[in-house]
Amino acid sequence: MEYTYTLQKLMAESNYLLAIRDNFESLLSKSVFSIVESQISNDNLDVNIKNRIFSVVVECVQNICSNDKAHSTSKNSILLLNKVDVGHNIVVGTKLNNERKNRLEQILTEISSSSTEDLKNKRKSIISTRTNLEESQKENLALIDMFIRSAGKVKYHFQGEDGNDCFLIIEIEISNN
């Protein structure tokens, strides 16, 4: 049972409050939101900041984690929330196949080199689409939202994992100011 103490130590080291490993199907995501909400409602945070944390979690769960419809029983995603000196960090990790990896890599590269103004225009043009949004448009919209809400404080990296599959980790910081 030593892992219990080890996990606690690891969590405490980086101030992680919560770690969830799941496939984040929709029923579950509701519970994830309620758990995050209760965590942040304890702090005396600004409405703005609370909404930002909440929305980043929602977008992570709905558009980054829960995309593996083919393996919906496997728990291929992870979500962590931690408190840092300046505010909160939301960390999301998910397993990707090659196709999605290429797509997200392209979207992330493009977004991270865009100005806020560009991102807002891009968002406007995506939501103005009159037909239902495609997967890549949904991901794009979610990531743009995270960049805007965090004022660009997004870090990400792709880490190689057994053969074709790869693991993407995105870390979003919502500062208290």
Binding site: A12, L18, A19, I20, L28, K75, L80, I169, E171
Partner: protein, 182 residues
């Protein structure tokens, strides 16, 4: 990217952990852990009876954590935690919290006693403990162990780990709830 994240993820994978909470426990946190687990069980289409059992055991275990009092200084050293593990045929609820060395022997004795009894004997002990007002000594934790043992029908696993504190150790308790009731 920080290495503890990688380690946490890999331990979660190895141990089949689906949820870890590490931090202060209060009524709100307990409530949200419960509602998360409920939602999870609901979506997995598990038997209602098993669901109720898990819920009850979780309440006992989590409230057991909130009952333990420690000084602000000890809190800095180590936080309580809750881990939910999902295996193919059962769930494990694991709690960890600092415990004062003076109460370790008593907790050990209680759990060992509970683990040594069969269902019939547990029932009798439960009745007796209920009547016995002296359970308040341990904040009702004694009754909690009996209750948990009765509901899970499995032995309680526990361990104490040394932490950087002269007066406290880290107490971990693991219960197992089978997905299928025989």
């Amino acid at each position: 990217m920080d290495t503890s994240l990688k380690q946490i993820h890999s331990i979660m994978n190895d141990e089949n952990a689906v949820l870890i909470y590490s931090g202060e426990f209060n009524q709100d946190i307990v409530k949200s852990m419960l509602s998360y687990t409920e939602g999870k069980l609901e979506s997995s289409g598990i038997d209602d009876l098993v669901r109720k059992k898990i819920f009850n055991v979780m309440v006992e275990q989590l409230q057991n954590i909130t009952k333990h009092q420690y000084t602000a200084e000890e809190k800095q050293v180590v936080q309580p935690c809750f881990i939910l593990i999902e295996q193919e045929n059962f769930y494990n609820l694991v709690t960890g919290n600092p415990i004062h060395i003076d109460t370790i022997q008593m907790v050990k004795d209680r759990i060992d006693q509970v683990n040594g009894l069969n269902a019939e004997e547990l029932k009798a002990l439960y009745k007796q403990a209920r009547l016995n007002s002296r359970i308040s000594e341990v904040g009702g934790a004694g009754l909690g162990f009996i209750d948990v043992a009765r509901k899970t029908e499995n032995k309680l696993e526990y361990a104490f780990f040394d932490i950087e504190s002269a007066n406290y150790k880290y107490f971990t308790l693991k219960t197992q709830i089978n997905k299928i009731i025989e």
